[in-house]
């Protein structure tokens, strides 16, 4: 390839990459799926409490998941994820929830509603509800919840109110009486209200619980992490800025120490960073704090791959080879070094990805992506650029020799 053509191709590559960075950097960052530790939110792990004689089956958990999903949806948050873990656990993750503590309350309640008579006999229960809505009475300035029963419930409720005229009917939620109105007359239309000293928010939460139905089992909070939005944003902004400054410093170092190959290393590291971020977006990988560590490690290994190549080429030049021969020989040898070093680490990363959970998994996924892309960029892109550069100038001093 002649000199002019090499210069043109190099220029096209650099300009294209520059444009890609300029136009893709923001969208990629915005599309990155951030972990709760970076953007704030709530993560709860609930464990079903087995009762004697009632084993927890897959069905129980699936049913509970459906009910919990309804409740989470009713919170009106954008990004949520609910999934079972092991045999008896449910993990709920909600991003950017302003009041995580209140959300936990709504999720954890079993929401078993019962209407009892004075003797404590259960007359009607929440499973016969078809709807529950929070309402506001402007006259009394109090919020209340309006209930609608299904056919069976309406019959039961009619019987219950007929039998208890003039007596209180106790409304019990999860074993706790929440109100006990006196029945004035039989109610036969299947509509009822729960009044209490609720504020609007409490009435709304109660309506949500009753609408979604009772959980088939009670749950225990095994783990709860709520990160306020300001703390998450703070860690993200600081980590990102620190990461960018750190990488810029490395790029400068490479340029200063390795001259022309350093510049080539910088170009391939920029491409590397773009490719890793792009893959993370495509694969829906979640970036967490440990993920940032993996990214730092993988950038380190990408830089290392370049250093291995250039040190090798310098050696070959010192042994008296011409530039072109040195580049060829350097790559041939460096190929196996980089291949083995990256593959050994990849072996460990894949094990961690397969067997690890949470933190460890997140770390391993990003590291694996990084290692694979690193082998690609270092062994093909860098090599191509170096070939172009050697067509442009044969001055070995530019290679730091």
């Amino acid at each position: 390839m002649n000199r002019t053509l090499s210069i043109i191709i190099s220029a096209v590559i650099v300009i294209t990459l520059g444009l890609l960075v300029f136009f893709l950097y923001k969208p990629l960052i915005n599309h990155l799926d951030l972990g709760l530790d970076l953007k704030g939110g709530l993560r709860v792990v609930l464990q079903a409490q087995e009762k004697p004689g009632e084993p927890i089956t897959d069905d129980t958990i699936q049913k509970a998941l459906g009910i919990l999903r309804d409740r989470v949806d009713s919170l009106g948050v954008r990004e949520t994820s609910l999934y079972p873990q092991g045999n008896d656990r449910v993990v709920i993750e909600i991003a950017g929830e302003d009041d995580p503590e209140a959300a936990v309350d709504i999720l954890k309640n079993v929401a078993q509603l019962e209407f009892q008579d004075e003797q404590g006999n259960v007359l009607v229960s929440g499973k016969n509800l078809t709807d529950a809505q929070a309402r506001f009475n402007p006259n009394t300035q109090e919020a209340y919840v309006e209930l609608k029963f299904d056919k069976e419930g309406a019959d039961l409720f009619a019987q219950a109110t007929t039998a208890n005229v003039g007596k209180p009917l106790v409304i019990v939620l999860d074993g706790k009486p929440i109100s006990s109105p006196i029945v004035r007359q039989p109610i036969t239309d299947g509509n009822a209200v729960i009044e209490g000293s609720f504020d609007t928010k409490e009435a709304q939460d109660l309506a949500v619980l009753l609408r979604s139905g009772a959980l088939p089992v009670s749950f225990n909070v095994l783990e709860k992490r709520s990160i306020g939005p300001s703390l998450g944003a703070d860690s993200l902004e600081k980590s990102l800025r620190a990461g960018v400054i750190g990488i810029l410093a490395v790029l400068l170092f490479m340029l200063g120490y390795y001259r022309l190959p350093g510049l080539i290393a910088d170009i391939s590291i920029v491409l590397y960073g773009l490719l890793v971020m792009g893959s993370m977006v495509l694969l829906d990988a979640v970036l967490t704090l440990p993920g940032i560590a993996a990214f730092v490690l993988s950038i380190g290994m990408a830089v290392d791959a370049n250093i291995i190549i250039y040190e090798r080429i310098k050696e070959e030049i010192r042994w008296g080879k011409t530039l072109q021969a040195a580049i060829d020989a350097g790559f041939k040898r460096a190929f196996w070094t980089i291949f083995d070093a990256n593959l050994t680490t990849l072996v460990a990363a894949l094990v961690l990805m397969y067997f690890g959970t949470g933190t460890v998994k997140g770390f391993a996924i990003i590291l694996s992506i990084g290692l694979v892309i690193n082998m690609f960029t270092a062994l093909t892109f860098t090599r191509y650029l170096l070939g172009l550069a050697s067509n442009v100038t044969k001055n070995t001093r530019l290679y730091g020799v």
Partner: protein, 279 residues
Amino acid sequence: MIIERRKIFYIISLILIVPGIISLFINGLNLGIDFRGGSIVNVRMAAEVSAPEVREALATVGLEQAEVQKSADNTYFIRTSELDQEQTKALLNALKNRFGEVELMSAESVGATIGRELSRNALLALGLGLVLMLIYISFRFEWTFGVAAVAALVHNVLVVVGAFSIFQWEINTPFIASILTVVGFTINDTIVVFDRVRENLRGTKRPDYLALLNKSILQVLNRSINTVLTAVITLLALLILGGATIKFFVVAMLIGFVVGAYTSICIASPLWYEIKKAA
């Protein structure tokens, strides 16, 4: 040059490792709630208050045992045994009653079972990873390299864990990630050195292992130094600018990387020499 002085390096390594091991036996590790179970609440007050005042407020709701730590910008970390929803609310209300505006930055509660599972799974995965790396290296190189590389890895993990025990820095889940990063970096670094040894061995009938190792180390020394230097640059940026949440996470990696570069040259290679000599 390097291999002849291996006794000195062994002594340096003992100095690095032994105090840590002793400390591990005496003080153990400062386990955070991720491993031990418990709650930690992070709040920001509107105005400057002192830690004893916060403690007083907490005592009104029966949380006098809480550990209160002041951090920057009027934020406080309150560590307690595991709190349920009601207790968390009581804690926040007690603070609000006393100090007015209180912003909840984060609240974490972890049951002790979760912590045990977490450490067990991480250790299992790490152990399996080490075995597979050993197999891969034995397959691509020779078993002697695998043993020396894994020994160097264990050495580094011990140094980092030991440092965390001596200084009693708190350990939470991100620590596992930093240990994994150290493992990844060390193995990468060691393999590059061994790769050069393997190359120089090729075609030599009766190798003088000592001279060959020295030559190989000298050939890759520049690369080792530059690689660890670039990694340290990035880590220092993260340490200085990265905010409080990731401080110890970065410190663990920083220690591990520097020690990792040292071990691949001054420990892994001499160890391989010893194994080769004995075999």
